[in-house]
Symmetry: C2
Subunit: 215 residues, 2 copies
DNA sequence: ATTTTTTTAGACAGTATTGTCCAAATCGTC
DNA sequence: GACGATTTGGACAATACTGTCTAAAAAAAT
């Protein structure tokens, strides 16, 4: 008791925290597959290998569990995006190929990853019904991503590597081009190979550089 | 008798066929808002201004109703897309501004329209659970749209208006650029004004022409 | 070894939904 | 107005899910 009293956050009972995680993971999977209304607690408990009561013990009720799922997913996804954003080629030797690699990282780690797909699907499914649930994503997600990416492009332009008039537009179009091919495939759950992603990124950067490259 | 013939618009056309339509419309709206699992027949009946029994009389059961909704939505959306595709500027006087107008039409009539949003949301929500439901869309939808648009661009390129190496890639990138800004806004149900759409289209075409315009 | 916490399985009430059935009301048509 | 088809509201059984409760089992801490 003293141990848990002293550090209730860092050292809770192992299986306790492990089960909590297990439930959260299972809930993420089931909510994303079935939607909020279609998911039920028994599915989640079974998926987590846990009794139904344990789900309630840990997360209160269905809505609280859903909120926890969205929060965790949002945080993980944002963290992943900014980690990848940090690998942007700020001092490029070969801008073209470095942008291709960056695009591949962004697609692989963030857009096509499990978390990314799940979060997007949840937003699409439940975004209108629970708008306040996704305000966090709305504020910390796309707008900050765009701003950060725009700042990088602005710096590249200032350094003479690119010819950009509006970095915000360029950033959004960069992301749009990167996803041009993958967008529809993912909507139907197609599995995308490495080569597909690389080809798509190459096409995107070719067009992006034709539009914004130094001439 | 004569009354319904004289004023079919002012008085609600509550015929057999009209109720069938009314139910289908209401079902479309409710299924898209709530998802398949979240929707229930009473909601749909109320939305249609009809008794629950009438819903069952016309469409059998919930699943058949859902299938009818998806089928109708797919057909309407495809028809709308190809109708808009027919307004592509084949002999452009001012290619730039005509492409902007075309992009606005495509966005307004197809992508941002009620049908377009509904169909996309249903595909995202239920596409994995009922894959066979959307094979029709899969075959007649994006791939044919892409092919048709690619053919138009190829002709423009052949006529010397554009400098395109791969028309298929150009077509997909055109669509991606057109939706660059609107994509996220729509995911959260934002209402988009005419000016937003026009500005977005202008940005898209500027970049597209910088990449593919004759130099 | 003992005590405390956590988990489990199952029962349970309350509620919601689906799909059916039916008699009365309504509508379209003659 | 009369007749047949359609619609309506409500009752109904069957099923499913939520969230609570319990006592027993398991696990963890002391």
């Amino acid at each position: 008791m003293t141990l848990t009293e002293l550090s209730p956050d860092t050292l809770p009972p192992r299986s306790h925290a492990a089960k909590r995680m297990s439930v959260l993971e299972a809930a993420t999977y089931v909510f994303c597959r079935e939607g909020y209304a279609g998911a039920n607690i028994d599915m989640i408990a079974a998926e987590a290998g846990v009794s139904r009561q344990t789900v309630y013990n840990h997360h209160g009720d269905k809505e609280k569990l859903f909120i926890a799922v969205v929060r965790a997913l949002t945080e993980r996804t944002n963290a992943g995006i900014f980690a990848t954003l940090a690998t942007f080629p700020d001092q490029p030797a070969d801008l073209n190929s470095e942008l291709v690699d960056f695009a591949i990282r962004l697609n692989g780690n963030c857009i096509c990853s499990g978390d990314g797909k799940f979060l997007r699907k949840l937003i699409e499914m439940e975004g209108q019904r629970y708008p306040e649930l996704f305000t966090g994503w709305r504020e910390d997600g796309p707008s900050k991503t765009w701003a950060a990416l725009a700042a990088r492009f602005a710096r590249l332009a200032h350094a003479g590597h690119l010819d950009i008039d509006d970095p915000d537009v360029a950033a959004r179009q960069f992301l749009a081009l990167i996803n041009a091919d993958l967008h529809v495939s993912m909507a139907l759950g197609d599995k995308l190979g490495e080569d597909r992603i690389r080809e798509s990124a190459t096409n995107a950067i070719r067009t992006f550089m034709r539009a914004y490259g130094k001439r």
